[in-house]
């Protein structure tokens, strides 16, 4: 199951789809950060840094699959 990826074109420069996804996922993750803090997400894990990285990878994966 594959779907076509659209390239982003900024002023004549082609940006690879993965870069677009990675940046979009980073923006979404940064928006999520205050919510994660308020919901006590960090306290659920022994290694919060790995948990946060996993959240980022999940968002990136979902973006790649869905869009």
């Amino acid at each position: 199951m594959t779907h076509p990826f659209r390239e982003l074109v900024v002023g004549g420069v082609l940006v690879a789809p993965f870069v677009t996804y990675a940046v979009a996922a980073l923006v979404m993750f940064l928006i999520l950060r205050p919510i994660l803090r308020l919901s006590g997400f960090v306290k659920l894990f022994s290694h919060p840094s790995i948990a946060e990285l996993s959240v980022y990878v999940t968002i990136l994966g979902l973006l790649t699959v869905l869009f």
């Binding site: 420069v13 803090r37 997400f41 960090v42 840094s49 790995i50 990285l53």
Partner: protein, 633 residues
Amino acid sequence: MTSEFVMSVTTGPIPRQVAGVPFASWAFGIRVWIAVVVALYAGFWLELESPLSAAITVGILAVPTRGQALEKAGFRFFGTMIGVVASIALIGSLSQARDLFLLAFAAWVGLCVYVAALSDGFRAYGAVLSGYTVALVAIQMIDTPDHVFDFGMQRGAAIALGIAAIAIVNDLLVAPNRHLELAAQLAALHRRVRDQAKAAIRGEATDPTATAGLLRETAALRSEITSLVTESSSGPTRSAAARSTAVALVAQIHAVRVLKALPVDVDLAIRDRMTSALEEAGDERPPTDQMTASLDWAFRELLRRDQDVREGLAALRSGARPARPWRTPFYFCHRLAAEAGVRAAIWLALASTFFVLAGWSAAEASLVQLTAFIGLGAISPNPRAFTVGALIAAPIAAILAGVLDFLILDGVTEFPLLALALAPFMIGAAVLTTLPNQVLAGIGRLNLIFILVVAGLSNPQTYNPEVFLDSALFVCLAPALLLAAQFLIPPVSDERRRQQLMASARREIDQLSFGQAERYAPEEAMFRDAVRIGQIAGAGAPGPQHRVVLDEALTLFDQAAMIRLCDASLRGLTEGLLARLADQARRALGRRHVQSIRRAASDIQEAAPEDALARAASGALQVASLVMERKGP
């Protein structure tokens, strides 16, 4: 961190050591090595034009904690973007006029050094990076100006890759968080401030250098406090808590200084009760009924600041929002920054002239290194000492890179062998950076980058001895040439820095404005003054003359802070007679006239003996008059 400070925090368990180096340092070294290998592998796999830049990025971002690495990464990325834009502008407008181009390039680097001197920590690094990125991009592309955009994009991609490599490796291998150690450092500083407070209650004299040292160490934590933001999702609140703690700590140091300025004419029993009130942290009622009004005010102030510090530390440890969100403003001197910028531009212009006259075709590589040394030296405490360090580190790195290329690898083309061969060099250099010896740490930091630069790793690796010798020679030539330029035009001297900083402190106290909304709260302004005292303490070797300067700086700090505190408490008096008396008091404070301040204090006290606000303002004014009266320790 001074050795004195290290001694004061040895209360915790001794860290586990392997071969005389803490386990945490080895873990850091292994993380750096893995990240370098990951970055190189990904760079080769993606067929980047300069996979080495990704590995060098990892070497540059090799800092022991996650938050700091991410913050530095952010500034590295944005600094590079600004530098690439500046390169395109310079190449686009001046690529046909070599001399003008080099002149404009020197001016740009000077401007970046000036901007870097206006801030601290990784922000300053970002500023100088945007300066020497122009060297990396525009100077290297000077003969092929139409490729400058492609080259800039490639460099951006390589840097992004390096950042991703170190970020993922730090996350997966659980690089330590900074906030626990920072809380321990702040708590240790707090203990030392309380010791000084107890000494002040006992009436013992303390050394001004010790107080200046405390202020300097507290202010020096500023950039690390900022790095907490990027550490985790609770980072911004922890950073705010740490900021408030640091500001409260400076305010407590001021309260101790004020207490020392007052005549503590109470008997031993009262002194003991004061000490235990400080130790019991608010559980015991302070014996204020047997004190003079001024001593009462100063002691309450000390207890209040102590309470603020403890609350801030608790908030930092628990990740809660602090009760008082204070900022930590940075002090900078425009004139000193401009002088540093002009010197940087002149050094670069001299070196460029030398290279133009020498007429070497590969000289741009050396000019690139030299620009990087100018930039990195500008954000180190002593530019010339940095250049000397680079001059020592460069040949060591060249030899090590030669050993790596021609003895260990020697024609190997398999990536796993390259990864294994890099291990001792990367881990060794990274472990060196964590040593308390500043010279060794500096050599380690430079080697981590130089070894990669000189070894010139590419796919496929050429193993060309001529190329290696060229790059080794130019890496060693750059610091030598810069040192020559710095002997010709010396960097801003410590004496000059001290004079300028003291002059600005004197100017500011004369120009304090009253009665209007200030840019900073009194406590924030105290922190800013503490940053300046830290800069004064850092300029010059300890000695009797330095002591005199520090003593004056501390006296100005006491007075300015006291005037601001008085102004803040006078702002509560807004009605009729009291408002007029408050205006009189402000005028007296502005002139720093002891008798007038004292008269204003008693007038306010008599005008409204029952008013709590008036009593507080009167107490503050009395203390201010005593602080102004005090000459020297």
